[in-house]
């Protein structure tokens, strides 16, 4: 009875209400970065989990390698996203179109790291390759009736 009474009284004296919180532009980036952290932590947990189970076949070892590469990729991607905000757009020139875009000097460590992080596929492709190898090895073991 009391909650209904309270609700009735409050409804009779309405004031300003800001129930919906507005989100600024950086929030998307933060969420994305948190997702990288969350994904990295999950991969670390997966590696730990695989190492602590009885599964010792080649397939599981490949899966561990996949996790490590993916962790590295996460680190690179996280760094890359962070450096995006730090490198000024004036540092780039593209007189003859997008493909001719160049990173202008002077080259600080920030710019060099930035350039390096743009090559993040050098980690993600090997990671996926090891995942492929791992799945293939597990399938073969299963087909041959071997221990997985």
């Amino acid at each position: 009875m009391f909650p209904f009474l309270l609700f009735g009284i409050l409804a009779m004296f309405p004031g300003s209400a800001w129930a919906v919180q507005s989100h600024g532009a950086p929030e998307g980036l933060y969420v994305h970065q948190f997702a990288h952290i969350f994904y990295t932590a999950a991969l670390c947990y997966l590696v730990w989990g695989i190492r602590h189970t009885v599964f010792k076949s080649k397939g599981w070892r490949y899966l561990q390698v996949f996790c490590i590469f993916m962790i590295l990729w996460n680190v690179v991607a996280f760094t890359g996203h962070s450096l995006d905000t730090l490198v000024d757009s004036a540092s780039f020139t593209n007189d003859a179109g997008y493909l001719s875009t160049r990173l202008e000097g002077p080259f600080t460590s920030l710019k060099i790291w930035y350039y390096f992080t743009k090559l993040d596929h050098l980690f993600s492709v090997p990671a996926l390759f090891f995942l492929y190898l791992g799945m293939k090895a597990l399938y073969r073991n299963t087909m041959e009736g071997k221990e997985v």
């Binding site: 994904y39 997008y98 001719s100 160049r102 990173l103 090559l119 996926l128 597990l138």
Partner: protein, 530 residues
């Protein structure tokens, strides 16, 4: 170097994106093959969902990157700025999903291992169960075999004892503690004259003739535990008494309490009768020998007395006193000679003829002589003669004498009561090879105490002067001479019960080759005479 080209990064980005899509799909394919091969395996389920999420992430990210590069290459910068937040948002979402799926690995594995452990335990338990079931099956099979063998043995044994019980010619019975007969074999019912269906409550007290015997029997069972070769008399259903040899064993329950008995009874009535007959015939033989000796010794002086008496009668006139006295001497001497002749007949010392005889004719001759006097005494004669009787070999006159004796005895037995019935029957008993003649009267019968003496010479129950006591003795001697037997029943036992009177049964053998036997006999007679 004043600047670095971004082209290598662009190329790596585009090529890498493409390769990632391909590799992620290849990985998903293997995960799908694994899950299809072992659908129940948690690991393959986890890897499948992991690869699926990774494919979504790779496709989202790689396509986003390719789109970005292409839009920027073709100078659609504005459009990319519009699309960029969407691809980024999708990437973030799928990356979180990928992380979430990864986290479940460990817990999933724990659950999987727990299930595996349980499955292992179940498998072991199942294997043990299978082994136990196998053992149980073997044991069961073995048990079935043992039971089958035992049942077979038991059945054989039961059959054997059942056959013994059913087919035994002696009475076999089982009694409870109150001496009520619970079970008895068919021979027992037959021996006692009861029907198997009509005697639900038959007790030993109903079949023991003397209650003292039953008392002794029960006492011996309870004290000694058995009864061996006890001679007792049983009463048949219709009231006749039979002599049996009884052996029984007491039955005791777990508390060593008398619970009943099992016994065997052998009917000795026939044996006993035969023994009596044997003893009687031995006695008659010795009496016959003695009588023959006495007759021979008396015959000579009797002949001298008769001779001298006749000589002296010639010297004195028949009207003189001496003549009359000598006549008395001669008459009495002749009477003595008849007695001596009868004694010789009894001892079978007299000669006899041998010829084929039809007993019906002999009996008719006997009745022709005696029927008149029988009618005078109000005695009704009943005939029952087989028409196709075989002939026997013997002396018709002697046999006639025998039957006249029997008829006269019957008449004497019935004349006191003023008449009666006389039954004469003559039957051929083919299986025994003999002809049986029965002469039964409805007179006063023979007292039990005199029964053993009736064939003794000079034994008579008639008053002095009415009989010499040689009639039955002579008859006995004649029948013996013919190879036959005489049986006496008084009172007469029939299927309908006991009848008043006496039955004399003469059984005479029928020769296998009648004519040959007579021819040989005649030949012997002739050679004797020559």
């Amino acid at each position: 170097m004043t600047s670095l080209p971004m082209l290598p990064a662009i190329i790596v980005d585009m090529a890498g994106s493409f390769i990632i899509i391909v590799l992620s799909f290849l990985s998903l394919r293997y995960a799908w093959l694994l899950i299809r091969r072992q659908p129940e395996n948690f690991l393959w389920g986890f890897l499948f969902y992991f690869c699926l999420t990774l494919v979504c992430f790779s496709v989202s990210r790689a396509l986003g990157h390719l789109l970005k590069q292409l839009l920027l290459i073709f100078n659609y910068t504005e459009q990319w700025h519009i699309l960029a937040p969407y691809t980024g948002g999708f990437n973030t979402l799928l990356m979180i999903s990928l992380a979430a799926v990864s986290i479940y690995y460990h817990k999933g594995i724990e659950g999987y291992r727990a299930i595996q452990k349980k499955a292992g335990s179940l498998k072991i338990a199942n294997e043990q169960l299978e082994v136990s079931t196998d053992k149980l099956l073997k044991l069961n099979k073995n048990l079935e075999k043992i039971v089958e063998t035992r049942t077979k043995k038991l059945s054989t044994s039961e059959k054997k004892f059942r056959n013994f019980f059913t087919n035994s010619k002696d009475m076999v019975y089982f009694c409870d503690s109150t001496t009520r007969i619970g079970t008895m074999n068919p021979a027992g019912f037959e021996m006692l004259g009861y029907s198997m269906q009509q005697t639900p409550e038959l007790g030993l007290k109903d079949i023991f003739h003397n209650p003292e015997d039953l008392e002794k029997y029960t006492e011996a069972l309870t004290t000694e535990g058995f009864v061996e070769d006890m001679e007792v008399e049983f009463v048949r259903a219709e009231g006749t008494v039979i002599y049996v040899l009884l052996s029984a064993t007491a039955l005791f329950d777990e508390d060593r309490k008398f619970s009943g008995c099992e016994g065997i009874a052998k009917d000795l009535t026939r044996v006993r009768t035969m023994m009596k007959q044997l003893a009687s015939s031995e006695k008659m033989a010795s009496v016959g020998q003695m009588a023959a000796g006495v007759a021979h010794e008396i015959n000579t002086p009797l002949g001298v007395i008769l001779g001298y008496a006749q000589l002296m009668m010639d010297d004195f006139g028949p009207e003189s006193e001496e003549g009359k006295n000598l006549e008395v001497v001669e008459r009495q001497a002749r009477a003595c000679r008849k007695i001596v002749a009868d004694l010789l007949k009894f001892s079978r010392q007299s000669e006899s003829a041998r010829e084929n005889i039809l007993l019906n004719e002999v009996l008719e001759d006997v009745l022709a002589v005696t029927e008149h006097s029988l009618n005078l005494d109000h005695i009704q004669v009943w005939r029952d003669f087989d028409e196709d009787l075989p002939t026997i070999v013997g002396d018709p006159e002697k046999l006639c004498q025998v039957f006249v004796n029997f008829v006269n005895n019957a008449r004497h037995a019935m004349e006191e009561q003023g008449g009666g019935d006389l039954f004469l029957s003559c039957h051929y008993e083919k299986e025994r090879g003999q002809v049986a003649v029965t002469i039964r009267d409805t007179g006063h019968g023979i007292p039990r105490n005199v029964m053993p003496q009736i064939f003794d010479p000079f034994f008579t129950t008639k008053s002095v002067g009415k009989g010499t006591g040689l009639g039955l003795s002579v008859s006995y001697g004649i029948i013996k001479e013919h190879g036959g037997v005489i049986e006496v029943e008084s009172p007469v036992q029939t299927e309908d019960g006991e009848l008043k009177g006496t039955a004399l049964r003469v059984k005479l053998p029928v020769p296998l080759l009648e004519s040959a036997a007579v021819t040989n006999d005649n030949h012997r007679e002739k050679s004797k005479q020559s």
